[in-house]
Symmetry: C2
């Protein structure tokens, strides 16, 4: 064969010269989704071959904080120890709302009902969680503590639909970056379970027959194009497309306002492979964006304004929801206003490049220093202060515990401009799938033999304004498992 293979065009089954390798289930990508898909498939008795394009396991999951968004069924032991009862319906409602206008109710239902059991499964794989809770609003523990508020649960409008509960479960790992620990544990399990893992293995194309059924992959192994038969299915867990800047430009150009992509490979290969056999990519314009502007949580008592001096969000939302609204503002200049009582140095200030734009003894001075239209900032602050004094925020419904009139000088405006600060982003669009992981075409009919999970699929997280830490890993691990189970239980094509 001298043909060259493309992720954009399937190799036809009739063109396969012979199988170099035969297996039951091929998994593409060794992040959280691929690890869990492999584990379930191999434990169900299938022969599993996992192809990873890099030299090691972990993928983008290993870059994360390792939080897992978990709850429901009354709560995990850790939630219950911290005094929370987490009803399944509250988890369901929260995730449905967090999924935004295009939320997948079937996936949300499946996950809400089985989240607690999934948490137990993760622990059974060896992932350790300390029985502890950090009540303050943070981004990620720098200790080995577990439970945190990792979303907008207590904030309007979520709080009106679902009883709030902290659900971010961070592994027992000292310091930030628990995702690496999580992935190391899962990777050990994958090795121990007998999955045939091939590193430095780039999947070039899917192999499909004339009816569109997927039979395997063409993969570059040791410099050679190998034809690998997958008797029960191929599971794409190859990440999103954030590092494919051309795809981002064409599908989610607004994300480019944020200059820092978060990803490892994430070159869109998984999605493109799926599309090559008729899989439908959905929600491709959505992404997660964030600037870690808190902790300390006292900063939440300040208010954000755009370059017209207008507020635009209740500041007690999750940092990603706030940031999503920030990048929707016209103009790059964004300021976080604090008074003497609320101000504290942002914990990630240096990292995030948040500096002080102006300070003054009066808000008029600050307004002038910021060169905002005279009276614009003043009107906003006066209105906010007057209502905050009464303990309400009729404009944006910030929670009472965060309301304090910003009346104690000196006053300060933190500079959070979009083009200078560390706004990072990743993509939330991907292949449309059933809760079983089956990839769907544009008419929502399954593409036989093809599955996807993690950011190659469009899962629980699909709205930047609703994203909460731990949703991606929860989605990748839980629905990765479902894909593995479903593929393994499918009758083999022989």
């Amino acid at each position: 064969m001298t043909a060259s293979y493309s992720r954009n065009q399937a190799c036809r089954l009739s063109h396969v010269p012979g199988w170099d390798l035969e297996t039951d289930v091929v998994v593409v990508g060794f992040g959280a989704a691929g690890a869990c898909a492999s584990l379930e498939a191999v434990q169900a008795g299938a022969k599993v071959t996992l192809f990873e394009v890099t030299a090691g396991s972990g993928g983008t999951s290993a870059m994360s904080g390792g939080e897992m968004y978990v709850g429901g069924s009354g709560g995990t032991p850790i939630q219950r120890s911290a005094g929370f009862h987490d009803d399944t319906e509250d988890l369901y409602q929260y995730l449905l709302m967090a999924g935004g206008p295009n939320a997948d109710a079937d996936k949300v239902r499946a996950y809400a009902d089985n989240s607690l059991g999934h948490f137990e499964w993760l622990q059974a794989q060896g992932v350790k969680y300390k029985n502890s809770f950090i009540p303050q609003r943070i981004v990620e523990p720098s200790t080995d503590d577990c439970l945190i508020w990792s979303g907008s649960e207590e904030a309007w409008p979520f709080v009106e639909q679902a009883k709030p509960c902290p659900r971010g479960h961070t592994p027992q790992w000292l310091g930030m970056g628990g995702g690496k620990y999580l992935m190391d544990v899962l990777a050990q399990r994958v090795d121990a379970a007998g999955v045939d893992v091939r590193y430095n293995a780039r999947v070039l194309a899917l192999i499909a027959d004339d009816d569109g059924r997927v039979h395997g992959v063409v993969v570059k192994l040791d410099g050679r194009d190998c034809f690998v038969r997958a008797r029960r299915g191929v599971i794409l867990c190859a990440g999103g497309f954030v590092m494919n800047r051309d795809m981002v430009r064409r599908h989610a150009p607004h994300l480019l306002r944020s200059q820092h992509p978060i990803g490892t490979v994430d070159d869109g290969s998984g999605i493109l492979l799926g599309q090559s056999v008729g899989g439908a990519a959905i929600n491709m314009n959505e992404g997660f964006v964030t600037l870690p502007w808190y902790p300390p949580e006292s900063l939440i008592k300040g208010i954000f304004v755009n370059e017209r001096g207008q507020r635009f969000i209740n500041e007690d939302c999750y940092h990603g929801r706030v940031s999503q609204h920030i990048i929707q503002q016209a103009g790059n200049r964004i300021f976080l206003l604090q008074d003497h009582e609320t101000y504290a140095e942002p914990e990630f200030g240096k990292f995030s490049n948040i500096t002080i734009a102006a300070a003054g003894e009066t808000w008029a001075e600050v307004e002038k220093d910021l060169d905002l239209p005279q009276g614009s900032l003043l009107a906003t602050v006066e209105l906010y202060n007057r209502y905050a004094q009464e303990g309400t925020d009729p404009l944006f419904h910030k929670g009472a515990k965060w309301l304090k009139p910003l009346t104690t000088p000196p006053f300060v405006a933190l500079d959070c401009r979009i083009d200078i600060c560390f706004y990072s982003h990743f993509t939330l669009g991907g292949l449309d799938t059933l809760p079983t992981g089956e990839v769907l075409n544009a008419d929502r009919q399954p593409v036989p033999g093809l599955y996807a999970a993690g950011r190659t699929a469009c899962g629980l997280p699909r709205w930047g304004a609703g994203y909460s830490s731990g949703m991606s890993l929860a989605d990748a691990t839980y629905f990765g498992r479902q894909a593995g189970l479903r593929a393994a239980s499918t009758a083999p094509v022989v």
Copy 2:
């Protein structure tokens, strides 16, 4: 053959039992794009067969006002008679900006350079334009007049990048709805030119070979599945997907805030057919939304506020740009504030369901009647009035000619709420194509034998916040022509 065919899966060439019909170029859809593609192809000597799913010509183009966005090269005779010189570079800059963050510079360049010639071509087909200009800001002439301001040319930020010029050219047709006239003229030409037009003909699937080249279509004719060979190419001009509510929900759910889709068939078939052979759909989340809130143009001197009493746009933008910003606001309540001097009954008020929400002798009364947070509306109006008095709008940069302090009682708030008023919408996502109409895959490589134009493709208009009346018809007709020319000049596959 007992097979059933699907727009989601191409019929393989090897499965074709025999050709029921052979032609050079198949055109799918008889709107503006299909008509122009057919005309150019047949005039270039190709045998052209046009399949239209309904019983007549016109498509969604015939529902439009018939405006054509035209200019450049110094201006059309009508622009020049009205005293405007329209430089090609100004047209280029405007269209590039109007295309938004994902604008297609190649298409914009091709169109800007050839817009005047295209206008002459349309006239040569028999489309008549009166040499007249309506200087007032309107949506569409109710007379047979031609030239109007049909975009945001004079408004910030466009005015800073391109010298403004009116470019909406409406055919000489008494009354609104000139699109029907335009399409009748083009349809007559198509008939006269010898295009083989088949009505009530639903294209079920594309026919492609194992390398992905398109060879024809399977089409339902008189109740029978017919195999039609297209030796030189298939051109998809089957409209957008606005009437496929499931596709809208999955790709552009925010458009559903507007409850009135504008379309005829527009069931996404064209896009799905293209995707079935590897064509890439892009920009699927974008759409056009509008509420025709002016004329009369005196209303432009009012200000829009959301339910937090905040302004959000310079009101002198094109109605679609204003409406796009309206549907981005949280909450359904949107008000247009006027004073005694600026108020006049909205011309489309009854049609649009715009009513008076509150009136009063002071803005405080209006604020109270609207049940807005006390002081919120007042602060906005006071700031606006103070600057308007000076002839500036430092917040949103509304043009000086529209600035007037709203200080003459009685005051009125027009109710423009999103869930009650007539906000209509259509989609702006579609197949990625070259300026030649060639359909591209996800790696921007052409799919051999396949072309697309009109709303099946992603053309000049691709950003709701930049849309201008006449962009869709200009795009459909000009790039429809290019697709017809390119297909006809391709060596036939024999």
